[in-house]
């Protein structure tokens, strides 16, 4: 059994009204310590008002090799955008 501290991903909300954003990662023995370390490593200059930490192993990431099948189908669906539809010039805002 490894005694090494596991890796955690750190998400910080810069101010209320904004979402938590990924700031980086760090090592810590448990969630409590991960929060404390995140405060010291990522918010030394008032960068945040709220921190989330999650152990990196719990994140499931998509594989860039599958980007084609995952993301390309959205590319030819122009009808999902407002500019696809013709409306008379007289209508200024719609």
């Amino acid at each position: 059994m490894s005694k090494n501290w596991p890796l955690w991903e750190v998400f910080v909300r810069s101010k209320n009204g904004l979402e938590h954003r990924h700031f980086g990662s760090l090592h810590a023995a448990d969630a409590e310590m991960a929060l404390e370390n995140a405060r010291d490593v990522y918010t030394r200059r008032n960068e945040g008002v709220s921190i989330w930490v999650v152990e990196s192993k719990h994140i499931r990431a998509s594989n860039p090799e599958n980007n084609g099948e995952l993301f390309e189908p959205a590319q030819d669906k122009v009808y999902r955008h407002p500019t696809f539809y013709n409306i008379p010039d007289e209508i200024k805002h719609m």
Binding site: N4, L7, G24, L26, M33, R44, A61
Partner: protein, 318 residues
């Protein structure tokens, strides 16, 4: 994959970088790209960590509370920078333990500048002004480098670094305006740190083996000599302004080039220090290794505690 196929994806990879696209951790990358980045990012991280040692030497002896909080904050920033960079490096598939191991066994290098001693308070001024000044010139172009996690770490580092340089220059300025002894102390620090700072930009372009490849991958945007010149041109007027003299008899403004000409660098000294024969190489690594070894029981205890908490939570849930 056939050799031709590999060539094709490598060409596509280089084209992505040329288009200023970023490479992210799970993207395919040539093995050499991965290895070069592990080497450079880890070297950079190690430099931040070892770089705390020469300055840590003066925290308890800072001449005022104002200087002390500033130095403490600066050293804490270096720790933070080391940690940003280690985690960027780990995204390339190397563990933190392997990285430490490489530092502790001497397999990985760190910036040679930290193998010089800090013998007076003025050295803290000289480090902030010159060493952090040189580091900023090296680092700013890396904010646009091709590897996403490295670029993001560098943006954060660069934002924090300019306070370091200003606090150093302020120390030098204060000493230079002080008593005769204080001014002598400042001049002596400049004399000792000037040449090692110039060496921080690495070997001359003619000797530098990685430049072409690094330019292509945007690990470098300017050559070592260009960056060194930029440092000299920027720093000489700063020294003059506070009445200090750059210790180079050949230093002269060149009107034609609109730049300073400067004297020859002692590259033998540079290579001696890189190879481990600098004044402080042994002490630095010993300090680092003993901190790591003496902290082992704390790390183990924290893990044991975390496991116990986890177990008792699981038991309660059942």
């Amino acid at each position: 994959m056939s050799e031709n196929q590999i060539k094709n994806i490598e060409a596509e990879f280089d084209a992505r970088i040329a288009r200023d696209e970023k490479i992210e951790p799970k993207d395919w990358m040539p093995e050499k790209y991965r290895q070069t980045h592990i080497r450079q990012i880890s070297q950079h991280a190690h430099s931040e960590i070892v770089g705390m040692l020469p300055e840590g030497n003066w925290i308890t002896r800072a001449p005022s509370l104002r200087r002390k909080v500033a130095l403490l904050a600066k050293v804490q920033d270096e720790a933070g920078h080391g940690l940003y960079l280690y985690s960027a490096c780990e995204t390339l598939g190397i563990s933190r333990d392997e990285l430490y191991e490489q530092l502790h066994t001497g397999k990985a290098k760190y910036s040679s500048i930290f193998n010089y001693p800090t013998i007076t308070w003025a050295d803290i001024g000289a480090i902030g002004w010159l060493v952090d000044g040189a580091a900023i010139i090296n680092q700013v172009p890396l904010c646009n480098t091709s590897y996403g996690p490295y670029a993001r770490a560098m943006i954060r580092v660069c934002k924090e670094e300019s306070f370091h340089q200003r606090q150093g220059y302020e120390i030098m300025m204060t000493l230079a305006e002080g008593t005769k002894e204080q001014k002598t102390m400042a001049q002596d620090a400049l004399n000792r740190w000037w040449w090692p700072s110039l060496m921080m930009f690495g070997p001359t372009d003619a000797e530098s083996v990685h430049t072409a490849q690094s330019m292509k991958w945007k690990l470098k945007r300017k050559t070592n000599d260009e960056l060194r010149q930029q440092f000299v041109d920027q720093t000489v007027p700063q020294a003059e302004l506070i009445g200090l003299t750059v210790p180079d008899p050949d230093l002269k403004w060149n009107d034609e080039r609109q730049s300073y000409d400067f004297g020859a660098i002692d590259w033998d000294e540079f290579w001696q220090v890189v190879k481990g024969h600098g004044p402080m190489n042994k002490q630095r690594i010993n300090a680092r290794v003993s901190a790591w070894e003496n902290g082992e029981w704390v790390r183990d205890a924290a893990m044991a505690y975390a496991k116990k908490q986890e177990e008792s939570r699981t038991k309660q849930a059942m």
